[in-house]
């Protein structure tokens, strides 16, 4: 099969959607001839023109609002925040408007839009350009939250998000943009709310999101040499959450480790943990459920400090080994 990058997979989903449905358009900062800060929209303005690849001034609230208004008036917009962090400027629009309009209007309006957010650390961009704030959105009924971890999922999930009739927050980890994977050329969809067991194993379930899936996979290869077999579950969508796939895996292994990049305190890991212990998987637990998340600090600039601010392969190996061996 053809191998392309995560960014190319996203671009292909956008291009195919725009070819198929003239209501789909993209709006954001520097997405035109510049191609987007991370190159996702490169070449699209040449193909579709400035009427559908809409370059904006630096106005995040109005980008979000433009998506909402266009969606209410029959279009299917894809918005881009240049960095996930900048969504703070657009929170009123996304949280108080996009998420609530349908409910407030008695279910008589739809807001079909996608807001793409490039997030995460590891690029040396320091504290204001490295955020992982997905849990803010998970706490808002009316929004869906998607966190792809590989090019195949990125394309299939984005196609589903664009065709969904709800506002969807689509989170792209910046370190994933250049990662490669097999991606079919056809318009396949991955349903929102469907987790995936990306690695089967019997000793311990690791529930990891976004770039942490890749790190957990690497950790699994290392631990395999010690005879420890990790099962890895990628939720892919945080809202709605496929809790069945998670609890089923935990029932099988009896142990669970949750890994995400976002700050651990108040992070989505707490929700996954609750999902496990509130379910019948509780009876199968042989050890406490553990969480690995970002430290309670803003992302530091210094390369080494930045590295140690969030879970890495080594920290996953250490934590998973302890759990698997009963050394917690």
């Amino acid at each position: 099969m053809r191998e392309i990058t995560f960014a190319e997979a996203l671009r292909e989903a956008i291009r195919q959607s725009m070819e198929k449905d003239e209501r789909v358009f993209v709006i954001g900062e520097d997405i035109g001839v510049y191609g987007g800060a991370f190159g996702v929209t490169a070449g699209l303005i040449e193909k579709f023109g400035s009427g559908r690849i809409v370059d904006t001034p630096i106005s995040e609230a109005a980008i979000a609002g433009a998506c909402i208004g266009a969606a209410l008036a029959g279009q299917r917009p894809i918005g881009e925040m240049q960095f996930m962090d900048f969504v703070t400027i657009a929170m009123e629009q996304l949280v108080l408007q996009a998420a609530k309009i349908r409910f407030m209007f008695g279910g008589k309006a739809t807001v079909p839009m996608v807001m793409r957010l490039p997030g995460g650390s590891g690029t040396g961009a320091a504290a204001q350009h490295s955020g992982s704030v997905e849990s803010w959105f998970v706490n808002v009924p009316g929004l869906k939250v998607v966190v792809p971890s590989n090019p195949y999922d990125a394309k299939g999930l984005l196609l589903s998000a664009i065709e969904d009739d709800n506002p969807v927050i689509f989170i792209e980890n910046k370190l994933l943009y250049k990662t490669k994977g097999d991606v079919p050329e056809d318009m396949y969809r991955i349903p929102l709310g469907q987790a995936k067991v990306v690695r089967e194993g019997r000793h311990l379930t690791v529930i990891a999101t976004s770039v942490m899936v890749n790190r957990a996979m690497e950790a699994a290869e290392k631990l395999k040499e010690e005879g420890i077999e990790l099962e890895i579950v990628d939720p892919r969508t945080l809202r709605p959450l496929d809790s069945d796939t998670i609890t089923k895996s935990v029932k099988k292994t009896g142990k669970a480790l949750i890994v995400h990049e976002a700050v651990k305190t108040g992070g989505f890991g707490g929700e996954i943990l609750s999902t496990i212990v509130e379910s019948d998987a509780f009876d199968y637990l042989e050890a406490p459920v553990r969480r690995l998340g970002g430290l309670d600090i803003p992302i530091p600039y210094n390369r080494n400090l930045e590295y140690h601010a969030v879970p890495q392969v080594e920290s996953i190996v250490v934590e998973a080994r302890k759990l698997a061996r009963g050394e917690y």
């Binding site: 609230a61 609002g65 009123e92 008695g106 279910g107």
Partner: protein, 328 residues
């Protein structure tokens, strides 16, 4: 320099004919009666929450709406009963929504601050001051992309002009020449903050000049002035010449909301503005006698009373349906 409209000097009878002129008068009476009844129901403890009454501002709502066409869009403010009724929404659905009933426009989920009637392109009132200003950009963009000759009118108060979102919206609308009518109803106070303290400019319409937007200031208690200014703005928008900022200077007779003791203004000031009541002014303008006006008022009152009976006899939303409308 204060921009002034070159509005038509035609009388209402010349412009609309007698029947339509009477219907506009009737609509103002309907708004007045609806809000007086709303206030009464609140004081009787029959409704809860809060409400923002536009008593005294009726000419602005009816005049502006008279200048638009079927198929155009409306985005409304929190003080929006008047515009909603002027747009053609029925008193029964409005009253039922106000009383939180299943038969209300939003099935009792929205209430006074969030009444919408999406079927007629009334995209709803907004509880956030300035919250609709980013959204109107998207509605305008959608119209432009779909190449129709629709126009969108967004209604907001003087308070919204000072929000950051307003700046983003005014700029985007102007650079893209979007078909938007910005109707700023300057009722002299943002809650307790007088416009004289919140602005260093005299006419709020001058704010638009810095964005390169056409703008004008009119007497908001004069239906014909509001009508003419909005008509001119709508025509400019339909021609593809971009947005217009129409400042409609008016006054709310009541407090900001139900908890307002109005310590920030004098009784004399309120009395002075009550002397500028837009309803008898327009009645006189179209040559109606006091007796004819009172007959019409009594007739309208019957309609409002009937709407209360309808709302009171309507079913409450069922708790079983509490999750309805969160997602499409």
């Amino acid at each position: 320099m204060t921009p002034k409209s070159t509005f038509s000097r035609k009388s209402a009878l010349e412009e609309f004919g007698r029947d339509s002129s009477l219907s506009y008068l009737r609509k103002m009476l309907e708004i007045r009666a609806f809000e007086l009844k709303a206030e009464e129901l609140f004081s009787m403890g029959k409704v809860h929450g809060t409400m923002h009454l536009s008593i005294g501002q009726e000419a602005s709502a009816v005049g502006a709406n008279a200048a638009l066409r079927k198929g155009d869009y409306l985005l409304n403010s929190h003080r929006g009963h008047g515009h909603c009724l002027a747009w053609g929404s029925g008193v029964e659905g409005m009253m039922a929504e106000f009383m939180g009933k299943e038969t209300g426009y939003c099935r009792g989920r929205g209430g006074s601050m969030h009444i919408a009637n999406v079927e007629t392109n009334n995209l709803g009132a907004n509880g956030i001051v300035g919250g609709s200003l980013p959204i109107v950009v998207g509605v305008g963009l959608s119209i432009k992309q779909r190449k129709t000759d629709q126009v969108v009118m967004v209604v907001f108060g003087d308070g919204a002009v000072n929000t950051g979102a307003a700046s983003e919206s005014f700029n985007m609308a102007t650079i893209w020449k979007l078909p938007i009518v910005y109707l700023c109803e300057n009722n002299q106070y943002a809650m307790s903050m007088p416009v004289q303290h919140a602005f260093a400019i005299e006419d709020l319409s001058t704010r638009a000049l810095g964005y390169g937007m056409s703008s004008t200031t009119v007497d908001g208690n004069d239906l014909m002035q509001v009508y003419s200014a909005v008509k001119e703005a709508a025509e400019r928008a339909r021609r593809g010449d971009g947005p217009t900022f129409v400042e409609s200077q008016t006054y709310r007779w009541r407090g900001h909301s139900k908890s307002d003791k109005q310590a920030y203004r004098t009784r004399d000031e309120v009395k002075e503005w009550m002397g500028k009541d837009p309803i008898p002014k327009f009645a006189k303008h179209i040559g109606l006698s006091d007796r004819e006006l009172e007959e019409m008022r009594a007739d309208v009152q019957n309609t409002i009373d009937a709407s209360v009976a309808y709302a009171e006899s309507s079913p409450e939303p069922r708790v079983e349906d509490i999750m309805d409308g969160v997602y499409a």
